[in-house]
């Protein structure tokens, strides 16, 4: 019967991501390539975090230490990803058809690569949890462990997506303080997850993370040129 928990958690963690993939990525081959590149860069950041963790023997047990450095590595690789894609973009101009160019033009490029970045993060963070959610048992100490993990995963996938849009835009326009703000935001939300170590405080993390998600989403929305008037228009158009 715990298959219910398993699928519930899968849908919570990956439901929105699945929608994003189906509606915006699946039909465009170039976007899939970008998605994989983004995912690969996140993996590289994981590799380097792990190497550091291996190397610094005395701090192996300190979660906070590896967490801080992991965030720094992730943001560093986001920067590397930006540099790479920036270089590639000019080269690709020659090779691609207009239609293909259009599919990755403007903010679509950071959007898709950021999605890949976040998706890989999500898979890695929740697979262990999902595997035990199938089994007959429930995590002893916190009854809502699976739910919280699933919501946090979903939250972070979307956060990575939005951060990527903001960071790429900031880096392109040389407003480095915004990129730094993204790093701070990442660090803040990640450190909130340390609250999970204590019982009953994990709800706080989930709540704050979702508030941050809304703020970051709005920021990203305005970054890519959205406005309240656009929203209004989009609703009025429907009628």
């Amino acid at each position: 019967m715990t298959l219910m928990v398993f699928f519930g958690c899968v849908f919570i963690a990956f439901g929105p991501s699945m929608a994003i993939f189906v509606f915006t990525v699946m039909k465009h081959p170039l976007r899939i390539i970008l998605l994989v590149i983004g995912a690969f860069f996140w993996l590289l950041s994981l590799l380097f975090s792990a190497l550091l963790w291996l190397a610094v023997v005395p701090l192996k047990q300190e979660l906070a230490f590896s967490l801080v450095f992991s965030v720094i590595f992730q943001e560093a690789f986001r920067f590397a990803l930006f540099k790479l894609l920036n270089k590639a973009e000019s080269g690709l101009d020659e090779a691609l058809t207009d239609e293909e160019k259009h599919s990755i033009s403007g903010h679509k490029l950071p959007y898709v690569s950021g999605f890949g970045f976040g998706l890989m993060y999500g898979l890695f963070s929740i697979v262990n949890v999902l595997s035990s959610s199938i089994g007959p048992g429930n995590v002893g100490k916190s009854e809502h462990f699976f739910l919280i993990s699933a919501f946090l995963t979903n939250c972070f996938i979307l956060l990575h997506l939005f951060w990527n849009i903001i960071a790429f835009h900031a880096l392109k326009h040389n407003s480095y303080y915004k990129a730094f703000l993204v790093l701070l935001c990442h660090m803040f939300t990640s450190c909130l997850s340390l609250l999970n170590l204590q019982q009953n405080t994990s709800f706080v993390a989930v709540l704050i993370d979702h508030v941050v998600l809304v703020v970051v989403a709005l920021w990203a929305f305005f970054t890519v040129g959205g406005s309240f008037r656009n929203v209004k228009t989009s609703f009025s158009c429907q009628s």
């Binding site: 699928f7 919570i12 439901g15 429930n138 100490k141 008037r229 989009s234």
Partner: protein, 700 residues
């Protein structure tokens, strides 16, 4: 599709790695496989018995049964679909297991011993052991045939749990820490039936099913490239030792002295010493020592030969006897026919050569009366020889007297029953009981030395145990002396027994000590052949004597192995002129064998190795049909078709966790579905309106 495949791959990876993850440790409390005993599946010619779980393991909410009230409450009020019951050992038995089966809500049983546990009289063996392939049938001795209706119940405390087919796992906790963890979790979470509830998963997946023939047939059908069987024949080696050197050309009349060497229990692989029954073969060994004391001239002057046989697998429908008789019939006893070395083999002993049978069984609860049981049916036909045996037995004066066989009972459960089915031979079975087993824990895990009144704990010294064993050893020695006397008289035809036919009661005490208390003892070390010394590790506990899976020729289990070396040591002829190399190479024919034994310690470190020649052999004790994979129509009616199911490496698992109720699990799924729908609609909306939403300049 690609994403799904990719996703599945990641999930699979996670599942396989997940076992050691932090999340797993937070969720589950695993119990070490060695900390509990488990009931396994056995198959015979017509049934499957024992326990097993589903492939994934059985899951149930824990429920403690430790009193009459909690027991009845469980059956009347427990409303959940699946339970695992934690049963106090005093309440465990066939009747409760049958009620568990009937209730349909029990997924597994964990048996524990409470503090200050008092062992109840209980035997998992049938109340009429050995009846299935017994001597009596409707045409001969029908009044003794059906022990449940009318005839005598040999084992009144026996409920026959061992023969029950149980569809769920049964574990026994050996460790009080594990017990307390389970009980605490149950008491903390399961008091008021509000979720989360403390539950366990029990896994003991068995491969074998239906019966031995089916299982063997399935094992032989190759359905995949990796050969994987489902069950293996149960069996071992019978030990045969002849007092006289066997001849290659003829066989004289032979007196057969037998005793079962194996034991069995509900949790088969984890057999207790079965102390009461073990006294039988221990007395046989003492008897062989008494007769082995005869000098060579006396031995060869005997007109009849005496053969000691220690039978393996007797707990499984007299498997050892059945095979011995089969081998005798086919001329393969005591060594298998071999056309090449025809002339060097001992002349086969046939059943027609057997003139008398003396069998030793339970003797541990011997008071002052020894019972010499015989078959009343064959006695009524020909009483003289049996009368003569009983009289001769009585004529040796010791502290023990021979009691008359109680009236209206058939022959006790014994190997003799199987022999008599083949041919009527005058024979007696020596036991400590008349009508019912004196041992109230026959084949139970509590049938240890403590059951024979020996008191010991971890701090008891070895000398103390030996001292406590003396009274029992004295009685068994008396029985051995009496038996040696009658055997000598039967074999020689003389009426007086030479004075050297005797055995020290100290030796019997040593035998009891080695087999039932601590295998790591001086006697075992003394008789171990030098080439085995490095291979054999003797534990500081009794050797388990469950027959187990047949290992083929040349593989003796430790209990049989030592029995064989002891027989060599007791009955063999010392060859002091031979050293290690010449000793082993000395055999000129196959009628006798040479053993180079470690021998006693003569100064603190060195052992006085000795070369001994003896006609001691080991023969297969396994069903011939199983050994050759040949079943005929009547297979099901043949005794000894026992197999043990195989199980995989990680077949056993016991893990404890908290279980959520289905409503809250459903809520999680509902939340997931809502997320999915919300995600899809909002992304669809945003995507379709992307042109408007992300337009930098407002429309005109």
């Amino acid at each position: 599709m690609k994403k799904i495949t990719y996703f599945c791959f990641i999930i699979n990876l996670g599942l396989s790695l997940g076992q050691n993850s932090l999340v797993y440790q937070l969720t589950y409390t695993d119990f070490d496989e060695t900390h509990y005993d488990k009931c396994v599946r056995l198959l015979n010619g017509s049934h499957q018995i024992g326990c097993q779980s589903t492939n994934a393991g059985n899951v149930g909410v824990l429920h403690i049964i430790d009193s009459q009230k909690t027991k009845e409450d469980f059956f009347n009020k427990g409303y959940l679909k699946s339970y695992v019951t934690l049963v106090d050992a005093s309440f465990f038995g066939k009747s409760i297991v049958q009620r568990f089966k009937a209730s349909g809500k029990v997924q597994g049983v964990i048996v524990y011993e409470p503090d200050n546990f008092i062992v109840q009289p209980w035997s998992p063996e049938l109340s009429c052991p050995g009846n299935r392939f017994g001597l009596y049938n409707s045409s001969s001795g029908s009044e003794y045939q059906n022990c449940n209706s009318g005839a005598n119940q040999w084992n009144p405390t026996g409920d026959g749990l061992t023969e029950e087919d149980i569809p769920f796992p049964v574990f026994y906790l050996k460790n009080s820490t594990d017990r307390d963890r389970l009980i605490n979790c149950t008491n903390t979470h399961n008091q008021d039936d509000t979720y989360p509830l403390c539950a366990v998963q029990m896994k003991s997946r068995m491969f074998g099913a239906v019966d031995s023939q089916t299982c063997t047939r399935r094992s032989n059908w190759q359905t995949s490239l990796t050969a994987e069987g489902y069950c293996d024949p149960i069996g071992g080696r019978n030990i045969v030792s002849s007092l006289q050197k066997l001849s290659t050309s003829s066989t004289v009349g032979t007196i057969l002295v037998t005793a079962p060497i194996d034991s069995r229990s509900f949790m088969s692989s984890f057999t207790s010493p079965g102390s009461d029954l073990a006294t039988g073969f221990i007395t046989l060994l003492a008897t062989s020592k008494a007769l082995g004391n005869l000098n060579s001239a006396d031995k060869s002057s005997l007109t009849k030969n005496i053969i000691f046989t220690l039978l393996e697998g007797e707990a499984f429908d007299n498997l050892g006897t059945t095979r011995m008789l089969y081998d005798m019939k086919n001329g393969n006893f005591p060594l298998e026919k071999d056309e090449k070395n025809k002339n060097s083999l001992p002349f086969p002993i046939k059943i027609d050569n057997i003139t008398n049978v003396v069998e030793f069984r339970q003797l541990g609860n011997l008071a002052d009366k020894l019972y010499a049981h015989y078959d009343p049916v064959s006695y009524s036909k020909n009483p003289t020889e049996i009368d003569q045996m009983v009289q001769q037995l009585n004529s040796t004066k010791t502290s023990i007297t021979v009691a008359n066989q109680p009236s209206n009972i058939g022959l006790v459960p014994s190997s003799l029953q199987t022999i008599l089915r083949e041919r009527e031979i005058p024979g007696v079975v020596l036991t400590d009981y008349g009508k019912n087993f004196k041992n109230q824990r026959y084949f139970s895990r509590y049938d240890t030395l403590k059951n024979l009144g020996i008191k010991y704990n971890d701090s008891t010294s070895d000398d103390e145990v030996l001292l406590q064993l003396q009274p029992l050893a004295k009685k068994l020695t008396d029985v051995a002396t009496m038996a040696a006397g009658i055997l000598y008289k039967l074999a020689s035809g003389k009426t007086t027994v030479p004075t050297d036919v005797k055995v020290e009661s100290n030796l019997t005490a040593q035998l009891l000590y080695c087999y039932l208390y601590k295998a790591n003892c001086s006697l075992f070390q003394k008789v171990l052949p030098t080439n085995q010394v490095s291979a054999v590790k003797l534990p500081n506990s009794p050797l388990p004597r469950y027959t187990s899976v047949y290992q083929g020729a040349n593989t003796l289990t430790l209990p049989s192995g030592f029995a064989s070396y002891l027989l060599v040591y007791f009955t063999g002829v010392s060859q002091p002129h031979l050293n290690q190399t010449t000793c082993v190479a000395n055999a000129s024919d196959q009628t006798s064998r040479y053993f180079y034994l470690s021998g006693p310690v003569y100064n603190s470190t060195t052992r006085n190795n000795t070369c001994v020649m003896s006609s001691t052999f080991d023969t297969a004790a396994v069903s011939p049909a199983l050994q050759q994979n040949k079943f005929d129509k009547d297979s099901a009616s043949t005794a000894g078709l026992w197999t043990e199911s195989r199980w995989s490496k990680n077949a056993f698992k016991l893990t404890m966790f908290l279980q959520q109720d289905e409503t809250s699990q459903g809520m999680v799924l509902l939340a997931g579905c809502i997320m999915l729908v919300l995600g899809f609609t909002s992304v669809y909306f945003v995507n379709s309106k992307a042109n408007v939403l992300f337009r930098s300049t407002p429309p005109l």
